[in-house]
């Protein structure tokens, strides 16, 4: 134990120290070797511009290298691998894509993913909006918001354990220790092993992500609601508008842009949902989703072709958001 702590500490010092050394060192070297001090006047200007032309690349160089190796190159490589066989040695062209659209596993993943995409962002955004609005003018609203926000700090795996305990099942004779089945029994129902009941188990897995993401929606939308001009609200209160009318006719239209951003952000997260399904069912009982399917293809079937195909399909799904983000960023830059 102690030895490992020491090793960890050494590793941390090396990693962190090494990266600091790079920046400080390379900047010092640049200043030293391309110094204009004492150089003839005509050379000074030349050296100055050369030095200041190189420096940006020291600043962005490491970042650029990391992005190219870990994100840009892989995008093209995965695209290539998706047209190749399981070892990634020979081209099989569209075989993997044909597999994708004819295999049962893939199709049920797509259907489940669509369900996730419809339900999770919508429910999280809706709950987030309602909670943000309700807690806005309550004196203990901050405490309530913190409690609802808290699941955001919990890992998907931790959250899965929390909810697996909620869904726990004991035989009909014994006391239920999972709160869901205890409630079912209390209302006179039959206890069930819920996560093994197709279709409904999908919803139960989605509940976990909704539970986590509502806090995110609440915080962003809460800030937007506080941004709605006070006099607009006051004016409509004086006009005799009810609380509900104000919410639907004034608040929601005002913050519509933010609602869309929140909804899209959660949508992208949902596309990549992996940990929850992996921890709860590993895709059994008709709960497979694309990200988990990809993991299974990659490690259990050791097929880089089909795994890459699934990844490419995920990539295609986020492409519209990506293009939109780049476009709107361009507009704000200009």
């Amino acid at each position: 134990m102690f030895q490992q702590l020491v090793n960890a500490a050494i590793a941390i010092v090396f990693a962190v120290g090494g990266s600091i050394l790079f920046y400080v060192g390379s900047n010092l070297l640049l200043d030293k070797f391309l110094t204009s001090d004492g150089a003839p006047a005509d050379k000074q200007i030349k050296r100055d511009s050369l030095r200041e032309g190189i420096r940006p690349w020291i600043f962005v160089g490491p970042a650029l290298a990391f992005l190219l190796v870990f994100l840009v190159y892989p995008v093209f490589k995965s695209l290539q691998l998706s047209f190749m066989d399981r070892e990634g040695e020979e081209f099989v062209w569209f075989t993997n894509y044909v597999w994708a659209f004819t295999s049962d596993g893939f199709q049920s993943s797509i259907i489940n993913n669509l369900l996730w995409l419809i339900i999770v962002p919508t429910m999280s955004t809706m709950f987030g909006l309602v909670i943000a609005y309700l807690t806005d003018r309550i004196w203990w609203g901050k405490i309530a918001r913190t409690l609802i926000f808290l699941p955001m700090a919990i890992s998907f795996v931790g959250a899965s354990i929390i909810w697996k305990f909620v869904y726990d099942y004991r035989g009909p004779g014994s006391d239920q220790i999972g709160i869901l089945n205890a409630l079912v029994v209390a209302f006179g129902g039959e206890p069930k092993a819920w996560i093994a009941v197709p279709f409904w188990n999908n919803i139960l897995l989605m509940v976990i992500l909704i539970w986590i993401q509502t806090g995110f929606a609440m915080v962003i939308l809460g800030a937007a609601i506080r941004g709605v001009p006070e006099d607009t609200l006051e004016a409509s209160t004086l006009d005799g508008a009810s609380e509900l009318e104000i919410f639907f006719k004034i608040v929601i239209p005002q913050i519509w842009g933010t609602i869309v951003v929140v909804w899209t952000t959660i949508t992208i997260l949902v596309l990549k949902v992996f940990d929850i399904v992996y921890a709860m069912t590993n895709g059994q009982w008709d709960t497979q989703v694309l990200a988990n399917l990809m993991y299974n293809e990659m490690f259990r079937n050791a097929n880089s072709g089909t795994a890459s195909t699934v990844a490419v399909i995920l990539m295609i799904a986020v492409l519209p958001v990506m293009i939109y983000n780049i476009k709107s960023a361009r507009e704000t830059e200009q």
């Binding site: 134990m1 490992q4 702590l5 090793n7 590793a11 941390i12 990266s19 900047n27 032309g53 940006p56 020291i58 600043f59 962005v60 490491p62 970042a63 990391f66 190796v69 994100l71 892989p74 995008v75 490589k77 995965s78 691998l81 709950f127 309700l134 309550i138 309530a144 913190t146 609802i148 808290l150 699941p151 955001m152 700090a153 919990i154 890992s155 998907f156 795996v157 931790g158 354990i161 909810w163 305990f165 909620v166 726990d168 220790i177 999972g178 709160i179 205890a182 539970w211 995110f216 596309l271 990549k272 992996y278 921890a279 990844a311 986020v318 958001v321 990506m322 983000n325 780049i326 830059e333």
Partner: protein, 384 residues
Amino acid sequence: MSIEAHSTKTAAVTKQAMVIILVMLWTIPTVGLLVSSVRDKDQLSVSGWWSALTASESQEVYRLPKEDVQTPSDNGYLIVDEIFDDQSKAIISTWGPTAKTLSDFAAGETMTLDDGSQMTVNEDGSIEWVNDEPFTHNRGPRVFYQVKTPPRFTLDNYREVLKSEGVGRAFINTFTVTIPATFIPILIAAFAAYALAWMRFKGRLFFLAMIIGLIVVPLQMSLIPVLRLFADIGAITGMPSKSYITVWLAHTGFGLPLAIYLLRNYMASLPKDIIESAYMDGATHFQIFMKMILPLSMPALASFAIFQFLWVWNDLLVAAVFLGQGEGKTVMTQQLIELLGSRGDNWEILTSGAFISIAVPIVVFLSMQKYFVRGLLAGSVKGG
């Protein structure tokens, strides 16, 4: 009270009631985990955590000791025994010689056995068994009893999970992954963000667009190509293809787009005059960055640090792919997955293990919530 005022009051009460219900829905699952993790494991497996404060009733069996513990006394030969240890405050209500006749005798009553010996089981679990002749049995008879056990809370689950279930180790491993994987991307991103905000160079706008695009690229696209790359490098240099170094590098790569984006936006919003005047005074960009921009950007750095810390601490996929498993490597999330598989029904293990893994991010989150929220508001384009 006017009707109008009355209706606003009702509305306010309904509002508060709704919030209370929602807050309960959101907190009850976690409370259940926490309560269960400190309950006695035998009680945890037979009763719901919501009944943790009430005594639990159960039916148990106890075997009496052999003849060698008997002592001669005034009334004959005597065997004295205790069913429970000293700490237990369990109370026996009824008992009997078989499972079916368990309610035949109340606590404190005396039963006469076939050989004429007499046995008494008391409320506190003490047993007296007397016989005129010396006892000669070599296997003691059994006593079945109905017992009421008061709630027991214990930290034993935590002790067990930390020591024998590998969670203690995994905890340290997770720190080893998380600290460099949080610090390195911040450092690299801070330099790049400064360049993007305040330096003029060719391709700057293209670089910026690329970063915004890369924020949403699914991690899944990178797994196989990067893994292969590490394997190839490993084959040439002899370095292991899955190690702490590879997982740090991977986390750095995946965290950079959002980091650069957040930090650049923040740095670009700093006042232009101070930077330009410092440059005019002959300070190099490196000096301006180290002495002015970095200290000024602390709030943004803190926001991203929390993001990255939570993301790496809670990550399963990147660790599973780029670090793998093993004695000195398995991180908390992986360890929990393993426990879900091997100890799936031992909730005392799962609940305490899960609580250890979520305690750190929760503390970080609560103590730095302000920065976390700021970061969220600044960068709500990233999807995890």
